[in-house]
């Protein structure tokens, strides 16, 4: 390398950020996590919307059938709802615990 190139290199070196910058990396990963969370939220929102729309479209067919069986199915439906809620809540906790460990 020539002297002139050395001089140029030394001047360019003044623009060089540090080799390790945890603040920069953290900022990038935080923005990435936020973006993924928003994407998940948008996906779940769209899924819920589609589910609601399907239910609305099928309601004229479902409603008489549900009315006919509702008296007999009410205790079982209540039990199922409680069980699903418990699984959803505990499942979420188990998932978060596993994520924290890994």
């Amino acid at each position: 390398m020539t002297l002139a190139e050395d001089r140029l290199k030394a001047l360019f070196a003044q623009d060089e950020p540090s080799a390790r910058d945890p603040a920069f990396s953290t900022a990038v990963m935080e923005r990435l996590a936020r973006r993924r969370w928003l994407q998940d939220l948008a996906f779940l929102g769209a899924l819920s919307g589609l589910g609601g729309l399907a239910l609305w479209a099928a309601w004229p067919v479902l409603q008489p059938a549900l009315a006919a069986v509702s008296g007999e199915l009410a205790p079982a439906a209540f039990g199922l709802a409680v069980a699903l809620s418990a699984v959803a809540m505990l499942g979420g906790q188990v998932f978060h615990a596993q994520s924290a460990e890994s």
Partner: protein, 179 residues
């Protein structure tokens, strides 16, 4: 382990969905990407914003990165396209352009004379030439790696670097003793 080997391992893990591996890639390549952007656009704050945008854009595209490809060249390629887009939108916004100008003037005031001359000479280079100089003269990229990053023919990169070097030396008032 060799640098390329570790990069390949991290890329494979990131392609499998590991955000920890991607975070290590950010750690390892942030310096090269930010240094390139600082030299290519001259505005450090904007360069760091663009560097963040580069890594955000890289994550969903990492599956397309071929095995054995240079990660820093790939990232600098994304960074360069981000820079060109920002440049075009800046040209449309005169007010913001003037604010950048004021910022860079303020930075120059605190810098020594040689650095001011170099920054001005860099700012006067056409964008492609400036990017080639930033990668090859300042960033230790090979001509082939810069050609891959900037999506330019190898011969064009070589001539951009040679012309850019001559203009920078002229601005600094030094003679290229290699010639």
């Amino acid at each position: 382990m060799k640098v390329e080997g570790l990069d390949e391992m991290l890329v494979a893990a990131a392609q499998a969905g590991s955000s920890q591996a991607f975070s290590r890639l950010v750690d390892r390549h942030q310096q090269a990407v930010r240094a390139f952007l600082r030299r290519a656009c001259g505005d450090w704050a904007m360069a760091d914003d663009l560097a963040q945008e580069t890594f955000l854009a890289a994550w969903p595209r990492i599956g397309r990165l071929k095995a054995g490809a240079s990660v820093r060249a790939w990232l600098c390629g994304i960074a360069y396209r981000k820079h060109l887009t920002a440049r075009r939108s800046a040209a449309r916004s005169r007010v913001r352009d003037e604010a950048w100008q004021a910022d860079s003037e303020a930075t120059r005031d605190a810098a020594p004379a040689d650095k001011i001359a170099l920054d001005r000479a860099m700012a006067a280079l056409p964008p492609d030439q400036r990017a080639c100089v930033a990668l090859c003269l300042a960033g230790d990229f090979s001509h082939a790696e810069a050609a891959e990053a900037l999506d330019l023919p190898l011969g064009t990169v070589k001539s951009h670097v040679a012309r850019g070097r001559a203009r920078l030396f002229a601005a600094l008032g030094v003679e290229d003793d290699a010639c």
